[in-house]
């Protein structure tokens, strides 16, 4: 039996009918891990002990699991053992899922290639010379290779959806506040959300309904009721409305991606969607606003890594020298760039012009998205401007930041979005996004499922039994 090709619901059903045991399920994925992991470096820590139903999860290594190392891909936390578990993991564990390991990431989730990890880059299982995207590249690659049934990532500006597009898997980011951030190591608190990576839409909804919901330990946790998994797929959209961006926005994607995206739009129309093209001029400023807000928050959040209470400490003659040496040797170049940028945009004399402007922009963007969703239920838009790039190919920080052009506006406005695999361009996967209004995950899952059934893409990496 190939458990990779089944939904979580189907695997649990087989277990209930005593047709398979948790051990058989665990061993199946373990064999996959043994086959793939030495080649792609998806994990920072691997777990060899099965628990519960044996269905293995990968957890991004910026989400805490009590008693395990949580490194955030950084030398700074190389020796950090989490003293508590994230709410998301606690809920998965209570539901019976097993942990396969802690997955690789760009240091503190800052990056779009998983190359900024102290533990070396993860490789894309579709082409080992290419990046799996990032920052949740370890999670996306592990799911794509079939080493785990699903994985959690974090999505601050596209860090779940972009690697999902590069690896041919489903990447979901909920409305801000849906999934507790308790135990997610903070990067940019007003943008961070835990996201879910799976091989199919149903599993994404299953994990979402397991881990979402109010948590008093997260002060930004929403109280809006979460749909039960069993309710989600009871119906599919018949007629629906959607918007999609005009050429000015789409030109940010490469021609082959635009061509495939037009076929994606045609499919939505064929399935009962009434689509209209919309101008989205604010998207041209979203990247800049994102980097101001995210880095400002990061500069504050990362101030805690000072070598005093936990993590790396480099010796110094006095306290100041200890701070300087610890932070100089503990952080990689991208993290330093972001702390420096963030500190600057918050400094006196520049705060209004940079940070103030970016926060005002968020409000304007949210109003603009509200307007779009007043006449359309969904927005369809590419996830990435192209397919996976080669490892080491992008040296310029700004060029790397622009990888997230199609995803950051979703985080700035706190919206939910899902990237579903569409097909291959020159042998490499590409995904497209469905974005919806706040808290309409149920509608989004239904449309994603409807489209998934019609899309001919198959993840070839999980077809073969082991």
């Amino acid at each position: 039996m190939n458990f990779s090709l089944m939904t979580i619901e189907e695997v649990l059903q087989l277990q209930e009918e005593k047709k398979v045991t948790p051990q058989q399920v665990w061993d199946f994925f373990l064999r996959k891990r043994e086959e793939w992991e030495p080649r792609i470096n998806s994990f920072i820590t691997v777990i060899n002990r099965m628990e519960g139903n044996g269905i293995p999860a990968g957890i991004k290594d910026n989400i805490t699991v009590k008693g395990l190392r949580t490194t955030c891909g950084s030398r700074m936390l190389d020796n950090y053992i989490a003293p508590y578990s994230a709410t998301a993991w606690e809920r998965l564990s209570s539901a019976g899922f097993s942990l396969s390991g802690k997955t690789n990431l760009d240091e503190f989730a800052m990056g779009s290639s998983t190359e900024n990890s102290y533990y070396g880059p993860t490789k894309n299982p579709w082409d080992l010379e290419r990046s799996p995207g990032g920052s949740s590249g370890g999670s996306a690659a592990a799911v794509a290779a079939g080493m785990v049934k699903f994985a959690l990532g974090s999505d601050t500006g596209g860090s779940v959806r972009q690697p999902s597009s590069f690896c041919g898997v489903v990447g979901f980011k909920p409305t801000y506040g849906r999934i507790s951030r308790f135990g997610l190591v903070a990067f940019a608190s007003s943008l961070d959300q835990i996201g879910i990576i799976t091989n199919n839409v149903k599993d994404s909804a299953f994990v979402f309904s397991t881990i979402a919901g109010h948590d008093p330990r997260d002060s930004t946790s929403s109280r809006v009721p979460v749909p039960d998994y069993r309710e989600i797929f009871t119906e599919v959209p018949g007629k629906f409305t959607f918007a999609f961006p005009d050429d000015e926005v789409l030109e940010r994607a490469e021609p082959e991606v635009r061509k495939e995206f037009s076929l994606f739009i045609n499919l939505a129309k064929k399935l009962g969607g009434r689509g209209k093209q919309v101008k989205m001029p604010l998207l041209n400023y979203a990247m800049e606003a994102y980097y101001i807000v995210a880095n400002a928050e990061a500069s504050s959040n990362l101030a805690r890594y000072d070598g005093v209470r936990y993590g790396l400490r480099e010796r110094g003659r006095d306290l100041l020298e200890m701070y300087m040496k610890t932070r100089t040797h503990g952080f990689g170049p991208e993290v330093k760039r972001r702390i420096l940028t963030g500190g600057f945009v918050l400094s006196r004399g520049y705060y209004e012009g940079y940070y103030g402007k970016a926060v005002s922009f968020r409000r304007a963007l949210a109003s603009f998205m509200e307007e779009i969703f007043s006449s359309a239920e969904f927005l369809l838009i590419p996830t990435t401007p192209h397919t996976a790039f080669k490892l080491g190919e992008k040296h310029d920080p700004i060029e790397m930041y622009l990888e997230d052009f199609f995803t950051v506006f979703v985080n700035l406005a706190g919206l939910p979005a899902i990237s579903i695999p569409w097909g291959l361009i020159n042998g490499l996967p590409i995904g497209f996004q469905i974005v919806s209004r706040w808290y309409n995950e149920i509608g989004m899952f239904r449309l994603a499922y409807l489209m998934e059934k019609e899309i001919s893409f198959k993840n070839k990496l999980i077809q073969k039994e082991v």
Binding site: P216, V308, L312, L319, M324, F361, A413, W438
Partner: protein
Amino acid sequence: MRMNKEPAKESFKLLRLEEEEELASQLERIFSWVGKLQSLELNGDYAFYPPGLSLLTREDRIISFKELERLLSLAPEIKDRFFVVPRVL
């Protein structure tokens, strides 16, 4: 907005990190890139929360963490129940 100081230098002063020369030119480019936002006319409405969320407050009460020893064991250096740091002055 016109800047009258070299922005990267200003940041270094605030954050006290080393490797200043290496990062300076990259940061100048990043500041100039994000500066594009300043051409937008926006009202000064700052606070932003996604709909359905507002700043939640909670009762100010002590919640005891039962595994204090586990926390202390993560510290690079402790004495009794205090974190030890190098001299300040």
